[in-house]
């Protein structure tokens, strides 16, 4: 069952050998583990992903995963407060921020933390207990619902509504299923019993992927995870299926936001998922557009369309436009966020689409490509060399079907993307545009 592979990044006979050891295994209870040995610090990044998506929430339980994650956060917080021996773990969680330790995405739920190696057994035990076993506090449910409603309000009527609308446009999601927080009526009716039953069904090792990155040999990593998760009952694997692909036509979704002074718009195109060889080219395209020297902020016509020349703008402040990072997810996208005068929305949209689709025509200068390649390779290698972000990145790759070993080769792949590869990628992926706009009420 266990396959351990050493991926050699550079010439095998060069000294010292830069090698990434990736160990993949599956525990008897079905939990999938990837362990990456990295001796450059004494921290272990832990990422746990449970494959339970919004599609698995029945209509009357929409938002139940967010409620469960909220309750699990409370369990962890109270266990640490009650146990002084977990003080060093408190530092780790305090740094992560207990509420953000657990996160809900449309396709999965996750826990992400980094701890000193010596604290690893305690941290894994705490996570295993909180995710699968601990009684969820009955008395906290009303607070959790109130919190979810607040977050839902922000997500549907605030600035971030535009992101949800973009994703809904990209993936063809129907109205009411844009966010992960559920509707007020369904949230109000979810009971503790339903919460527990949903968790018992889906939050099981058979649906779990776990990644450790740190100074651990394969044997130590497997033993640590076995020790904390090995005795958990397997459970039934669910019928998980990731979102996507993007709908094969251009699409826009429009919402309205309370208290917004300007329209908030996200304009994007689909990007190749990590399982595609063109993924690296998608990262380079993002870098050509982004940053202070990227095409978007250098475009004076766009700045005029946004009204950036108007008096009153704070000198030196970043312009109200930026390119969003490309994330490893089922259907990634390259997208640009902007805040603009509602009357200029169409002008800005068409200019942004021009920028995105310009890659289909090529025309990237050598200097532009070289800087973008190095920026993309730096960003990726920087994420990979930090235990926590590395574990999250590699585990997401595992979950979405990419070979975790292949991630080791990504920085080099990014650093050598050619203009032809960039154009081929754009021709295949950038043809349709997707827009999410939140207009002021």
């Amino acid at each position: 069952m266990r396959a351990c592979v050493t991926v050699v990044l550079a010439m095998l006979l060069a000294t010292p050998v830069p090698a990434v050891q990736v160990c993949q295994t599956t525990l008897a209870n079905g939990l999938k583990l990837v362990a990456v040995e990295d001796n450059s610090s004494d921290l272990v990044g832990i990422h746990v992903a449970i494959k339970v998506s919004g599609r698995q929430e029945p209509e009357h339980l929409h938002g139940v995963r967010a409620l469960i994650q909220h309750q699990i956060s409370e369990v962890v917080r109270s266990q640490i407060a009650a146990n002084p021996a977990l003080g060093a773990l408190d530092v780790a969680l305090g740094r992560t921020g207990a509420p953000s330790l657990f996160n809900v995405e449309w396709d999965f739920v996750e826990a992400s933390v980094c701890v000193p190696t010596v604290e690893l057994p305690k941290a894994l035990e705490l996570l295993a207990e909180a995710l699968y076993v601990a009684e969820l506090p009955e008395e906290g449910l009303a607070n959790a619902k109130a919190d979810m409603l607040g977050q839902r309000d922000k997500a549907t009527t605030g600035v971030e509504g535009a992101y949800y609308l973009l994703r809904a446009a990209l993936l063809g999601r129907p109205t009411g299923l844009e966010t992960i927080y559920g509707e007020p009526t369904t949230l109000a009716n979810i009971t503790s019993e339903q919460l527990r039953a949903f968790r018992a069904w889906h939050y099981v090792p058979a649906n779990t992927c776990l990644c450790l990155v740190g100074p651990l040999s394969e044997q130590k990593a497997v033993a640590a995870v076995e020790g904390a998760f090995g005795a958990l009952p397997r459970g039934e694997a669910n019928d998980w299926e990731a979102s996507g692909p993007a709908v094969p036509y251009s699409r826009a979704r429009v919402g309205s936001g309370l208290g917004l002074g300007q329209a908030v718009m996200v304009v994007g195109v689909a990007a190749p998922p990590v399982t595609e060889p063109e993924f690296a080219a998608g990262l380079v395209a993002h870098q050509i557009l982004s940053g202070p020297n990227g095409r978007i902020q250098r475009d004076l016509a766009l700045a005029r369309s946004l009204g950036l020349t108007l008096a009153g703008r704070v000198p030196g402040a970043p312009p109200p436009i930026d390119v969003l990072p490309v994330v490893v997810e089922a259907q990634p996208y390259v997208a640009i966020w902007s805040a603009c005068d509602p009357r200029r929305v169409e002008k800005v949209r068409s200019r942004l689409v021009e920028h995105l689709q310009a890659f289909i025509e090529g025309g990237v200068s050598d200097e532009e490509l070289e800087t973008a390649r190095m920026r993309a390779a730096t960003e990726l290698a920087t994420q990979l060399h930090i235990a926590q972000t590395s574990a999250a990145l590699i585990n997401r790759c595992q979950m979405f079907g990419a070979n975790p070993e292949s991630i080791a080769n990504l920085p080099e792949a990014v650093a050598t993307v050619t203009e032809e590869q960039l154009r081929a990628m754009a021709t295949r992926w950038f043809a349709f545009d997707y827009v999410g706009v939140q207009m002021p009420e």
Binding site: P16, S40, I80, P84, D90, V91, V115, P215, T382, H385
Partner: protein, 448 residues
């Protein structure tokens, strides 16, 4: 077939390597050299991922500006490291190479760090060397830098803890340069002349006052050679710096209050704390710092925000102790709960007296050491953070302290914690700063 054998051999070798524990900053991975011109070069190799943090640290923080207007250190660092249009064009040139640039000004040093994919590191060294040692400083650039700093100062309104901390430094250090804000004083910025800037630059930005440090996927010998090529041609200078005389601890409490945009009073207390020359005391004081504020069971949490029915005295707090080249400060800063200012002051003194009067329990000290270790791990999580640690200690003493630090902390006994509290945290030798809400003059009179 040959490839399979090689793969198996690599597996055996790598499992032998992984049998040892990985120290936070492994001394076996660190190498150093000094060029003929006095420039120090330190490398920590880490080859898992193809990324390198390379940085330059210059012993030219505010400690060194005693002969110049307050803020000169920041002025020069901003001109060289932060300006997008300055003659050195360091930042734009590095950014163009595709990496991430960060810079900082501390009390003892200034630094610039470049984090990038390994391939571009040799080129970045030439850019750094030219930017550092070949800057031509003109009146036009001085005027532009002054404008930029003025604009930054205009937009910067310190949070209450930052304001309180600066008040405490000013009270504790008087005329010592440590009293100068590292961000530069507005009045200082106006006084700095081109003569000051050039004199400071030419005096301190010389190879024998600089260290080049790299952490990541580089090989030490190769890197030394690259640094020699980029930096070796610049001559060393005569730094001629006389350390300012130390600051005496107060014999009775010094008290100062001010008004700020705060809903409730902020209370800050500061005692003189050990400098790097007294490393044992530094380690013991780090444990005092940890006992005071780390975790839900810290001394401050237990006293200021007790669980159960006891009324809480404070809403938030911060403790600061940063090791400096010369003795610095231990600062405890608290946002008091409504009408609890006096009780907070009293509680802080009682906590400090408790540390002076009896040693902490072994159990508590062990827990504090675990927290210090966890904090140390997190402060050295990434290559640029590891570089920052090596640079920080190299600027005030030697990077070696960063490598030994945890062993030295672990050797501290409960008695030593008590002794360091008795030595530095004397009952009357503190500075007290208070920020109270802005109120009308009549209310102010009534409060008095």
């Amino acid at each position: 077939m040959k490839r399979k054998v090689l793969l198996q051999l690599l597996l055996v070798l790598s499992s032998a390597v992984s049998a040892r524990a990985a120290p936070v900053l492994d001394p076996a991975a660190v190498s150093e050299t000094t060029l003929d011109n006095g420039l120090r070069v330190i490398v920590k190799e880490a080859h898992t991922w193809p990324v390198v943090a390379v940085g330059v640290v210059v012993k030219a923080g505010s400690l060194y500006e005693g002969d110049y207007p307050a803020g000169t250190a920041r002025f020069v660092a901003h001109l060289l490291f932060d300006s997008e249009r300055g003659s050195s064009r360091l930042r734009p040139a590095l950014t163009k190479l595709g990496g991430v640039v960060q810079s900082g000004v501390l009390r003892d040093s200034v630094n610039i760090t470049f984090m990038a994919y390994g391939e571009v590191i040799p080129e970045s060294l030439s850019v750094l060397a030219e930017g550092l040692f070949e800057a031509s400083i003109t009146e036009e650039e001085i005027a532009r830098t002054r404008l930029e700093l003025r604009e930054l100062g205009r937009r910067w309104y310190p949070d209450p803890f930052t304001r309180l901390s600066q008040m405490l430094w000013e009270m504790a250090c008087g005329n010592h340069p440590y009293a100068n804000p590292t961000a530069g004083a507005p009045e200082g910025i106006e006084q700095i002349s081109i003569g000051d800037v050039i004199a400071f630059y030419e005096r301190f930005y010389v190879p024998n006052n600089v260290a080049v440090i790299a952490v990541g996927d580089v090989q030490a010998q190769e890197f030394f050679q690259q640094v020699q090529e980029a930096f070796g041609g610049y001559p060393g200078g005569d730094v001629e710096w006389q350390a300012p005389s130390g600051v005496a601890a107060p014999t009775e409490p010094r008290i100062k209050s001010d008004r700020h945009r705060v809903p409730f009073p902020f209370v800050g207390m500061a005692w003189q704390a050990p400098g790097i020359t007294n490393k044992r005391d530094v380690c013991a004081m780090d444990l005092v710092y940890t006992l005071l504020q780390a975790g839900p069971n810290s001394l401050l949490a237990q006293t200021l925000q007790p669980s159960g029915d006891t009324e809480r005295l404070a809403l938030h707090w911060q403790v600061e102790f940063i090791t400096h080249k010369q003795p610095g400060l231990l600062q405890i800063m608290v946002q008091a709960a409504p009408e609890k200012e006096l009780e907070v002051r009293q509680a802080l003194l009682e906590i400090i007296n408790g540390l002076r009067e009896q040693p902490v329990s072994e159990q508590r000290l062990t827990a504090a050491k675990q927290i210090v270790y966890a904090e140390y791990c997190f402060h050295n999580e990434s290559y640029d953070e590891q570089l920052a640690t090596l640079a920080f200690y190299e600027a005030i003493d030697s990077y070696q302290f960063a490598l030994d630090y945890i062993d030295q902390v672990n050797a501290i006994t409960p008695n030593e914690v008590q002794l360091v509290a008795q030595k530095y945290l004397a009952p009357a030798a503190y500075n007290l700063a208070i920020l109270r809400p802005q109120v009308s003059d009549s209310l102010e009179a009534r409060i008095r």
